[in-house]
Symmetry: C2
Subunit: 425 residues, 2 copies
């Protein structure tokens, strides 16, 4: 089966919103054995939407549509679908009851809009919306030829993503008859080209039906190993062999072969080593702390974080020596070391990481350019005494990218130390 | 004039790459008075590309194509354009000389590929590539009707962006007689439906050529007022009148009518009121600090941030009273108040905001459910004494959404206070 993804919204055509929904839908569909032929972003106009439905359903088995299902009047998708399909609306009692109940339970008076919201296109299978109001729909459509499907979902990413996983993917993977396995390989601290060099030999000898994709992101690059075939066992075996080969070849950079973040990986290592962590951040401004605490249950190992922008704060809160600041400058490995040790002691943690650098756009010098960060790592060794390591990391980007890459470098330092400590046990 | 943007590459259709190029092209075209009717991502297949050229140039004056101009085998755009246009290639001596020269000056031996690279479609205007090798082309095309344009550019963002600004935008802004104005209206603390109710009367009476779009995001919803017409003055006037009307009607929620973030808005208010800020975060885990420090120059007003997860840290670092923690619980307005005051004093700031709540997924109770946050705001009034305000905010989402909405609610509290303080001056 094949599909076209239709994203509706003027804001996509004015460049005010980047179409991330389509990317998510495509990768999910690929996993369901459905190939995507086109992604189309189209305006909030009924004529444009109806033209697009016509084109796409002539070419493809499925048209997956997001956006334009909300309450406001620039939302035209449902109306356009009615006109295109020449069908009518029917009230879905279940959707209506569920939304009324949700309003009541959160202490709100059910609004008249809820009835309008629960009107479903005749013949549609409802896609329940666990994260919001507007229900999605899978609408079989047959213009004399073979059965085709119009799928409508809201444009709010969390709502759409939940609908894809709970209903849309299972619905179509059942029909496609193909078995596909995708395995993520998460790396940190290496670029796309260098990683490609390391795994080239493996990539050149992939078994039929297995492919390797590079997924670069702001902080690094991840890999995805995809295997496709009709025999589930063969597909899963081919996939696992390739994943294991790459993971051992790129061992220094691979922190996980499951879909977890570096901060989740660190959280698991902290729990297994029974260590508690603290952070002392200057140029990352709290980003390391917020990444660590994005992980559910992080309160079990995250003790305390300090964001110390100016020198007084570094001295008073973290006991950085005035002399060190004067002789080495705030952006120096010596200051990073004292920040890390200071936060370790102040917070009573077992491991602490620190950053001091220049995120930009201003503040750079010849010797200490924008994109430079000094990292400090302090931790208690077996006999309880404190060991300290430092490093300096350079990158090039705007302020936000630099903050992300600085935080990634710091978390990478923590990950490697925890990995050593845990394997030594 | 209107255009369609065609992005070529299989990686877009598998979800391995998000189409950020199209967004950039759209915003640049809008500025040139060229409306975009569709964005299409299409596969690296000559047939698919030629079909798309045909469709798009039937509907629109311009087809802007990125991707598939490089040396690798999967780059099919130039070949497809040749077949579609039924034209031949000619060597562009200037492009060839420039690339050879660039190779020599960087000490590389000019490769045979450079000649292939300098082959231009007959009749094309070359778009010089300052950032890379492959030249772009603007190709006038006329199938008997009016003049249309096929524009080819590489998919590498830096190369494409430079080409748009240096050549493509000036070329078409000269030809389009239309004037378009888009104005953002940034709001915080109100949902799409409620906002629509507030501005309904204005929305019902928009002048011809002016439209209103709702752009919901994780933390709230923004608005965009778009006006189009032939007379620049009329268009700008219509647009401004609508923006002003909405901004005053929704005054309690509108923090900006320019494209800035809430944290940027707060930064400007802090500079104008000459106040310095500190943060004391529990459940937001440093997100408020990192949002405030995402703003360039924030070191001028951001003093210090504390991420205090456990109670000891709250007591030792921020002088929260043990008694308060026992009698009110860590998640309480009383503790939020003491956290805010403690961070204000410890950091020597003029205003401080605090959060203590339950981000989830665990840790919720009947009385203190997941999604509940207590906020504290401490600030120095005119006569230098400290005033404290608290609030409790409820939301529903996963851990990450809750953290974002908690941080938004806290920043909103800061924004409103700073707005009052600055207008009182």
């Amino acid at each position: 089966m094949n599909a076209e993804v239709i994203s509706i919204g003027d804001e996509l055509l004015t460049g005010q919103r980047i179409n991330t929904n389509a990317g998510f839908i495509c990768s999910e569909l690929v996993g369901a054995g459905v190939g995507v032929k086109r992604i189309i972003a189209c305006a909030d106009s009924e004529d444009a939407i109806i033209d697009q439905f016509t084109d796409s359903l002539q070419r493809s088995d499925i048209a997956i549509v997001t956006g334009g299902l909300g309450p406001t009047r620039d939302d035209r998708t449902k109306q356009s679908a009615l006109r295109f399909l020449k069908r009518s609306l029917v009230l879905d009692e279940e959707v209506y009851a569920r939304t009324v109940e949700r309003y009541r339970s959160s202490g709100r008076e059910p609004s008249a809009y809820l009835k309008h919201n629960a009107m479903i296109i005749d013949g549609a299978t409802v896609i329940p919306n666990e994260k919001g109001l507007a229900p999605g729909m899978i609408i079989p459509w047959n213009d004399g030829g073979q059965e085709r499907y119009l799928v409508l979902m809201p444009g709010v990413p969390q709502e759409m993503e939940a609908m894809m996983r709970s209903t849309v993917v299972p619905f179509f993977s059942g029909k496609s008859g193909v078995c596909i396995v995708h395995s993520p390989i998460k790396t940190t601290g290496i670029g796309e080209t260098a990683l490609a060099d390391i795994v080239r030999e493996i990539e050149d000898n992939l078994s039929d039906g297995t492919s390797l994709a590079y997924l670069p992101h702001a902080a690094g690059v991840d890999l995805r190993v995809s295997s496709i075939g009709s025999d589930k066992e063969v597909v899963e075996n081919d996939n696992r062999i390739t994943v294991d080969a790459i993971a051992s070849r790129a061992e220094a950079f691979v922190y996980a072969t499951s879909d977890i973040s570096l901060e989740e990986c660190i959280g698991r290592l902290l729990l297994s080593t029974e260590m508690k962590i603290a952070t002392a951040e200057s140029c990352t401004g709290g980003l390391i702390a917020t990444r660590l605490t994005d992980v559910p249950g992080s309160s079990r190992y995250f003790v305390q974080g300090f964001v110390v922008y100016d020198n007084d704060a570094k001295e008073e809160t973290l006991d950085v020596k005035a002399q060190t600041l004067v002789s080495h400058g705030a952006v120096s490995e010596k200051v990073a070391a004292e920040m890390a040790e200071g936060s370790l002691l102040t917070a009573g943690a077992d491991i602490a990481v620190s950053t001091t650098g220049i995120a930009g756009p201003g503040g750079g010098t010849e010797k200490k350019p924008v994109g430079m960060v000094c990292l400090g790592l302090a931790y208690r060794n077996r006999i309880g005494s404190i060991e300290i390591e430092t490093a300096t990391f350079y990158t090039q980007g705007d302020r936000l990218r630099n903050k992300i890459r600085f935080s990634e470098a710091a978390l990478r330092m923590v990950w490697k130390k925890l990995r050593d400590l845990s394997t030594r046990d």
